[in-house]
């Protein structure tokens, strides 16, 4: 068998390298965003609160993908599968075993971590487009697996499961939607802080070393196999928690809610938000939640085409996504301050 030699040096990197500092927001901006997120539900209608909650949920899922791709340089078009596992874990525990909704989150997080870690094992041997393909396969297979006959007593088969919406605890005077929003917000902030710290830690530096140059990383004594699977596990775990929250918020799980379409949306969210820029996850989530609606308003029949054109615009005009816009704004502000 003849072997083709590929020049690695001339190849475009799979993922743009992002310096560690550029991965987060400054303190001031963070506080403003936080204040906005806390105050927002006080002034808007219930349906908007629901949308904002979904924004946080998707933001969390995009963040998870960002850790995997922006952090360790691995692809995944299969996040919807982990999201589905998380959603179903919560739904089944809550509805069939009467477990408290808050307790189901860590359980599905741990379960998805295990699933992701195990899936990371075969994925270890793949990179780039092959990994995209393998995860794509996982995402496409998931709805079919959830419909399996012998799982039906738990999953409800094609019909899916209805999840009851939790009330605000301790008799807080809040609507269910508002309580869920703050509940989701608290978890999102906790995970965001955790993720930022993870990327700044020893493990995070190992991820990035692997992303930038695998061979150099292993020469420095990093256990490449361990950290790659670990990145998959962490990403899957966070996605699973997002899935659980999503199931509680939407109050319904069904196999066809978690198709490859969802995985593609999350992937697009990451690209739009800027790969490797964690705050961009929320921007990306906003893109995938609100832009299809906008496209629908511009032209009903052509909504898919409008969405595609907008995506091309993003790729061509701001290839680094929201991160590029943020950096541009920062520089403009700095210029004005100097004057």
């Amino acid at each position: 068998m003849s072997a083709a030699v590929e020049e690695v040096v001339t190849e475009a990197p799979a993922v743009e390298a992002v310096p560690k500092r550029a991965m987060t927001l400054g303190t001031g901006t963070s506080l403003v965003v936080l204040a906005l997120l806390i105050l927002a539900p006080l002034v808007v209608k219930n349906f908007v609160i629901f949308q904002l909650t979904m924004l946080l949920v998707y933001g969390l899922a995009v963040l998870a993908l960002n850790i995997l791709t922006g952090g360790s340089g691995q692809f995944s078009l299969g996040q919807s599968a982990f999201y589905a596992v998380g959603a179903y874990t919560s739904a089944v525990l809550m509805e069939q075993y009467n477990v408290n909704y808050a307790l189901t989150l860590p359980i599905s997080g741990i379960l998805c971590f295990a699933v992701g870690f195990l899936f990371g094992q075969p994925a270890l041997r793949l990179s780039g487009v092959y990994l995209a393909l393998a995860t794509f396969a996982l995402a496409t297979a998931m709805p079919q697996l959830l419909k399996l006959n012998f799982l039906e007593p738990w999953t409800g088969g094609v019909q899916g499961l209805v999840v009851t919406k939790p009330d605000a605890p301790f008799g807080l005077p809040m609507s269910q939607d508002m309580w869920l929003y703050y509940f989701t917000l608290a978890i999102t902030i906790a995970i965001y802080v955790g993720a930022v710290n993870l990327l700044r830690s020893r493990s995070g530096r190992a991820f990035m070393a692997i992303r930038d140059n695998e061979i150099a990383a292993s020469a420095m004594g990093i256990d490449v196999a361990l950290y790659k699977t670990l990145a998959f596990g962490v990403s899957a775990g966070i996605t699973g928690i997002a899935g659980s929250l999503g199931a509680i918020v939407v109050q319904f799980v069904a196999p066809d809610s978690y198709t490859i379409g969802l995985a593609i949306q999350l992937f697009l969210g990451m690209v739009v938000g800027g790969v490797g820029w964690l705050p961009g996850s929320i921007v990306g989530a906003a893109f995938i939640i609100f832009v299809p609606n906008m496209a629908e308003n511009i032209s009903k029949g052509l909504s898919g085409a409008v969405f595609g054109v907008l995506l091309f615009l993003v790729i061509f005009v701001v290839p680094h996504g929201a991160r590029q816009v943020a950096i541009f704004c920062q520089q403009t502000v700095a210029k004005f301050r100097k004057r």
Binding site: E16, A137, V275, G301, A305, G308
Partner: protein, 292 residues
């Protein structure tokens, strides 16, 4: 035993569909090193164009070849306008571009020709082939066209200057450029050919799966599976892989208990993953050795 051979025959006839699609997938992978997720939609659009021509009264074969020509030009145009500027961009951006293209084509086809299922004519007829109920003359014709296409491609790549230049541009772009090959146009040519082959695949598949904007969804995944099984670097492998996936799918559906129609898709995907893990280069592919 008869059941077994019948199932193999049925597998070969569905496999022909996958083989066609896999061939298009491999063509473009050769040219640009990416899997084009919009490939199926491009094929679907071409098929609709040929259908429209036939509605206007153009005879089948004229429409067939006109569509191939048009698809070739359209493939080149898409590359020149949309993907040439992305050549140096990270893989990720390219994948996002493919998804955008997918979304645009799918939605436009839905708007122009709406989502109702349409009949598509076959030039080969649909009588049983050689007295067998499992394989029709259309499917036999499809297998014939696929094999002809493969032979044609083989001669093109082995014995023509352009074919040689394309191979050079794909395997060692830097060196190819140094000996005066316009690698950028070779990539465009690859897009054009992939688009044309996709059009052929679409027009051959349409009589079986019927014409509608989402007709290629499942087929493309099986095409990917076939291409991976045969090796993404080998057109022959893609065709063999296509037939193998077809046969495998039918045998698994018949003999493994619990695998009904609903599990056929996960099986194809399990196949992709296991091939990638056990033998990433596929059955006929070249192993890529990286120089660091």
């Amino acid at each position: 035993m008869e059941l077994f051979s019948n199932q193999i025959l049925a597998g070969i006839s569905t496999g022909a569909i996958y083989a066609c699609m896999a061939l298009a997938v491999v063509m473009i992978y050769q040219a640009i090193d990416h899997l084009n997720f919009a490939q199926g939609e491009m094929a679907m659009f071409s098929t609709f164009i040929s259908w429209q021509m036939m509605q206007w009264g153009i005879p089948y074969w004229a429409a067939f070849f006109l569509t191939i020509g048009l698809s070739f030009v359209a493939g080149i145009a898409i590359e020149r306008i949309l993907f040439k500027p992305l050549a140096k961009a990270p893989v990720l951006t390219n994948v996002a571009g493919f998804i955008a293209l997918y979304s645009i084509i799918n939605s436009s086809a839905g708007l122009i020709w709406d989502f109702t299922i349409k009949q598509y004519p076959t030039p080969f007829g649909s009588a049983p082939f050689l007295g067998s109920q499992l394989i029709s003359t259309h499917q036999a014709g499809m297998i014939g066209v696929t094999i002809l296409l493969l032979i044609g491609l083989y001669f093109f790549f082995q014995y023509t200057r352009v074919g040689l230049a394309m191979r050079a541009a794909a395997s060692l772009p830097e060196s190819a450029r140094l000996v005066g090959i316009n690698t950028s146009w070779m990539i465009a040519l690859g897009w054009g050919m992939a688009s044309a082959i996709g059009a052929i695949a679409g027009m051959l598949i349409a009589p079986v799966v019927f014409l509608e904007p989402n007709m290629m969804g499942g087929v493309l995944i099986y095409g990917f599976a076939a291409a991976v099984l045969g090796g993404l670097t080998s057109p022959l492998g893609a065709v063999v892989g296509g037939f193998l996936v077809g046969i495998f799918e039918n045998l698994a559906g018949t003999y493994i208990p619990g695998v009904g129609n609903e599990l056929k898709l996960p099986i194809a995907l399990a196949l992709i993953i296991s091939v990638l893990v056990v033998k990433p280069a596929g059955l006929f592919g070249r192993a890529i050795v990286k120089r660091v």
